[in-house]
Amino acid sequence: MAESIELSVNGARHRLTVDPDRPLLSVLREELDITGPKYGCGEAQCGACTVLVDGEPRRSCITPVSAVARKQITTIEGLAKDGKLHPVQEAFLNAEALQCGYCTPGMILSAVALLRSNPNPTDQQIISYMNGNICRCGTYPRIVAAIHEAARAMNGGRK
């Protein structure tokens, strides 16, 4: 049965009456028209639906909306601040780390979470952390390069 749930997405609060078991992905996309998180598999295998919940990456396709009530949810739409791109977004553009771009929001948010926990990752650490995100166009080498570039930028140019 539907319940009243408060969601905080990209700094804005929303009060919704929804089935508490409904996946966060479906609520974001269909109730709030926040379509940056994408459906790719529905079983947390591809990472296209990745959002940040209190800074941690979560697969929104298998996260019941009730589990994230009153937590801070960040989607790709909320990553740039005051019109300024996040360094990871900048780096994806610079490295041309996308083709069709469907995986890109999930890739960027996963990369943001990685750099939050490990500001200076090695290739192997990037590969291991990002391995749950699929890019079917095969831009992985560019994404690894972009994450290194973002790390440099976020460390004030040092690495």
Partner: protein, 714 residues
Amino acid sequence: MSQRYATYLTDRQELLSDPLYVPGVTRRSLLKAVGSGIVVLLTVKDVAAPADAQESGRGGRGGEGMPTKLGAWLHIGENGTVTVYTGKVELGQNIRTSLAQVVAEELRLSVSSIIMVMGDTDKTPYDVGTFGSLTTLTISPQLRRAGACARELLLELAAKRWGVDPKLLTLADGKVTERGGGRSIGIGELAGGQELVREIAADEPVTPPSEWKVAGTSVRKVGGLDYVTGKQKFISDLTLPGMLYGKVLRPASFGATLKSVDASAAAAIPGVTVVRDGDFVGVTAQDSYTAQKAIDAIRAEWNPSPQISDSELFADFRKQAGPSLADKQVDLAPGTKRLARSYTVAYIAHVPLEPRAALAQWDGDKLTVWTGTQRPFGVRSELARAFSIPEANVRVLMPCMGSGYGGKHTGECAIEAARLARKVGKPVKLTWTRQEEFTWAYFRPAGLIDVAAVVSDEGKLLEWEMHNYNSGPAAIRAFYDIPKQTAEAHAIRSPLRQGSYRALAATANQFARETHIDELAHLVGMDPLEFRLKNIADPRLRGVVDAAAKRFGWADRKPDAGHGFGIACGFEKNGYVATCAEVAVEGASRNVRLVRTVTAFDNGPVVNPNHMRLQMEGMIIMGLGGAIFEAIKFQDGKITNASLHTYRVPRFSDMPAIESILIDPKDKPTAGGGETPMIALAPAIGAGIFQATGVRLRALPLAPNGVPQADAPT
């Protein structure tokens, strides 16, 4: 089998023979649609039609008479905006960027000044579809001529206005200027108030690639910012006021027919409408979650029909094909050897990360559908047929999708969405689940390929015979110098629905041929590179082989223990490719890891080098999946690995070190590059596995469960 869909297994040549649509555009209606200004038109004889009565010379332009078949057009409006209309679609291959580049080049503008209107059946001219590496081969040269034609026209207009010789004028930065710093006028001012329509000539003075300044450079992806900020809307992101979400009830197995259905529990869910139309059962709801619950609540019984399973597939193919070439008795001349082998490739899935999606809206008997397809005009025809309405009543738009790789040529999802929308009288969006995409889309065909070759003891190829059963004719003819050659593709029954795939049969035929070449080299005791060079005359093919081998260090390096090197080359869709691969066969698992690849590619002058490299990297990643581990499994009419945890696609951890070499000859025609660079990879990996282990693998995927201890049976 009775439920077989129309087969879309086609070579690009066959697809080009589709009838061309005649839009019935008049000069007035065109100008009304795009606004006043200057329009340059490409007539269809330039596109594909073999015979067309239209004149393409400059005579007769500008009158009320219009060509009836148009390939593309370019408009310059009074604000100076240049808009290019093409029926091609952008799906990550970055043609929105590369096509804008060639137009910008001819008009001496920056890419950001060009607007590309693409893949909208009401706004763009007919296009057969975005596949077959045709965009850069055909549309790109046409748009170069369109740009050149518009440039010359602008110069003429300015010359007329000032009463000077056009030769004394130059076009740059959106302005026509008199040489030596005289008068200057913007292109918008020149176009303003004009109602000029000009046909493009065959001999427009295009800028040679050696002089390119915008084309030939690594311009960034057009609209890239929207992709990294989440602003870019894909098909599955689109909404309309009052829209409902749809879901469709799927049969329990392929070929099953509906025996009984009880949808009362679904219909009882608030907001749910059940749609029943023969065997078609679907629902609509306010959200996709509720729609899925409604589908799950439907009780349906199905009558199954017998189906071939994956374990029986190649035995069935062999039965249909007849005896293999190894069974043929041949008299051999002294000093020659004959080798006959059979190779197989499995069905694989495209797995576009965005599954099929469509948003359909009816207005009376007029239908508009936004859908993820590589063939908007083909889907328009399918919709018109499905609902018995004229094509003119159907509009299909493809603004942006999560790619296709040849897997989105068809309109089944569009038809389903439109079916639901018609019944409920509201716009309906339908997004297939991953499982549906894995099951009810189509696959790259499986294939059985027989090859027999006769070679002299000195390593000269003398005879070649090759038969491909089911997977198609692309790249089937050997590019080696062989005095006697037979190569044929044979259509046989396929248990699964099959269709196009990036590089399609070229991957299968290349795998068989290039593996056979590697086997022959070993048979006569020659190095596989040396053996190839001894049998290849084409200088462009030799060029890519040399370039890849040199960068790889073929002659100088020896593989580490457990590692192996392989090489393969190919020619397809006007592009030449060679790949060297280093593989590692790991420990007790004997899993294959691709360590390093070097690929050299010659597709003429490259329009965007960085995007070309990006494509090549992507194709190595995508190609290694089909080469090493991807295969669709099926039993009793069900796909048994219809999910991303059971069907493995390449991930970050599969990524090899990738080096790409662009030959980029400026004096050759430009060809496409989104397919051919992947076709030499699988045989190069197979040859590397052979070097590492001594085991010869003749089936794709090569080693889904590690390398076996012994050769596959031949």
